[in-house]
Symmetry: C2
Subunit: 425 residues, 2 copies
Amino acid sequence: MKTVKVAILGLGTVGSGVYKLIQKRADVMEKTIGAQMEVKKILVRNMNKKREGVDASLLTDNWNDIIEDEEIQIVIEVMGGIEPAKTMILEALRAGKNVVSANKDLIAEEGHVLLATAEENHVDFLFEAAVAGAIPIIRPMKQCLAVNDISEVVGIVNGTTNYILTKMTEEGMDFSDALEKAQELGFAEADPTSDVEGLDAGRKVAIMASIAFHSRVVFPNVFTEGITKITAKDIEYAKEFDSVIKLLGVAHNTESGIEVGVYPMMIHKEHPLASVRDSFNAVFVHGDAADDAMFYGRGAGEFPTASAVMGDVIDVARNMAYGCNGRISCTCYKNLPVKDIGDVKNKFFIRMQVTNEPGVLAAVAEVFGNHKVSITRVVQEHTQPHQAELVIVTESVKEKYMKQALEELLALPSILEVSSIIREY
Amino acid sequence: MKTVKVAILGLGTVGSGVYKLIQKRADVMEKTIGAQMEVKKILVRNMNKKREGVDASLLTDNWNDIIEDEEIQIVIEVMGGIEPAKTMILEALRAGKNVVSANKDLIAEEGHVLLATAEENHVDFLFEAAVAGAIPIIRPMKQCLAVNDISEVVGIVNGTTNYILTKMTEEGMDFSDALEKAQELGFAEADPTSDVEGLDAGRKVAIMASIAFHSRVVFPNVFTEGITKITAKDIEYAKEFDSVIKLLGVAHNTESGIEVGVYPMMIHKEHPLASVRDSFNAVFVHGDAADDAMFYGRGAGEFPTASAVMGDVIDVARNMAYGCNGRISCTCYKNLPVKDIGDVKNKFFIRMQVTNEPGVLAAVAEVFGNHKVSITRVVQEHTQPHQAELVIVTESVKEKYMKQALEELLALPSILEVSSIIREY
């Protein structure tokens, strides 16, 4: 009986999950890939750390034990970070080994280099787990939807922020309490910056946009804005407008270039993304043939992420059985420009505190009008004797015009504060 | 430059969509599959029918023109029905041609025969379009989720009935008005039996269960119950219970066998399937590693179905380029029993009209108790001076016990009518 031998780089949460799944499925692996699967080596930093349930003889802290072992045909990179992951993946690919990776940071920056190297060496480089955890999204876009001209990909691709926004929406918590609760439950890290500022989501949306639009989008192309400024008051207005606030990774393929960003948005409650709750993720795709589609599931966690990694590993093993590794590689055959955020069009919800006197609305409307901003909705609420809260919802307008209008608004004596600016989906 | 030559069997809605997509994507096909794609023949029944936009020289009503043409490497079967589709597919596979099919009727009955023939002849037989139209579901289950032990697949896989139930829920329509509206809009056929009685959904759930559980389930194994008896009153109760009524195709892999059925169910409004509206479809899957996942999109229509067909055709062409056709074939390597519906456990909502006198509830409760049915909820409403509506919700119980209890209930003089029996998810 044949045996496919693999190495795992990194034995953190995901690495452990992968190791356990390979053991757990040993009895059906032959039915699945026509061979047994064996973990031959696991690369760790600390050889002395106690690791429950792992055969200690597999551990090594020496990369040469793996790269020089010709029996190892699949390298599973689940250590994260740019280096040494990048060097190891490139060396593995050049040595004719297939690589499966869950490393969104690296792929969002250097995916094209890794894919090109895989192609040159006729091996697979797969990374389904790098976007939205367990949710099948890369393979569906590269294969099932391959005939489509995809114009839009919008995702809730960060579970931490979706959990926080769900708590704020359903339990009236404010941001800091919801964040604290997420940290207690292990959904948020001690330093939550990468999640709450939209950086994590930004990396994922760069990868998805590249695949959807057949043109390379890298993380530095992605405008990101987080959820730290969202208040209970904004959540209330969203409800009033039959919407919810979600942190969305948004990518559009327009005639003038690719638009890509991450920001909190008000989205109508009937949109399928609106009902994605707690730490779940979902990716919504619009194709010219398939129309709307959405993929929903767990975006993180030991076994969900390991599920996606193993889906790739099994695919590589099936390719090995048929001698067709590398059959689907880079699909970026276009070279489309990525638009500056200033040229991206969005609708805006703007909440501000104004003095309560005649003519304020007229002055505000004039400023917007001067900067090509059309207003679709105005709500004014008297909050104090001489003060009112003014909410303006705009039509779709280029971000740079909105920015100019806001600067001018802030100079008006009747505008006491611009409390929130939230985009509308 | 290489050219992949295909034949299309049937030029109805889906066939036309496939033909148009191949023309529309001619400019990017080489980037996608490394070759051009050409429709060499189209099999039609009526050569004299006028067909807008189709090159008439491609049409034939002679199967021999296709089966004997060695240049045709992919046969796309989109004519539907058991025969002559079955014979043609088998002949094509035996002639070494790859086959892509959207034929759920045939695959739900004879899928194993077709897959075995494909395997013997080292060619592909793919059928993503046969289940839930444009929604990627077969490839995600066979590949992305391949490491999972899938215990549950539940789907809204019939757009017509989901449209009807949405209208009943959101606009208070009754069944016959909603059906009429669906027929006006072309969502329902003149004879809606296959949709409203759950037969169409039953075929799809048989195919999905086979793939999810690695064990053959055929359409005759599937218990089906339609939505014709659902009333506005039932919809109201569902709302009261924070639920909606959906026609669900349900498949569970239990220790005592596979449970598979199609029936209307009350499902809690927070479940992701509950927010699938109008004619959209969705399939919810639970795997031991991936946890919950859901796939949402268009379940029917010219281009959505053609999108799924073309995803398969492109996959076949990529396999041809690498000489690996047949790399993923039948994945049914188990032989699990399918349970009789009587042994399947469900929770029930029972609405009945009873005489309004002391002791009725006690009598009803006794009958349920005698048949191992536990009650979790009772709602009684006085509808007329001497009559009341009694709603009982039960715990999970084997269908056969519920059936016995209902027979005994109907014999009680105080039970005037059992108005509805709806399962709860």
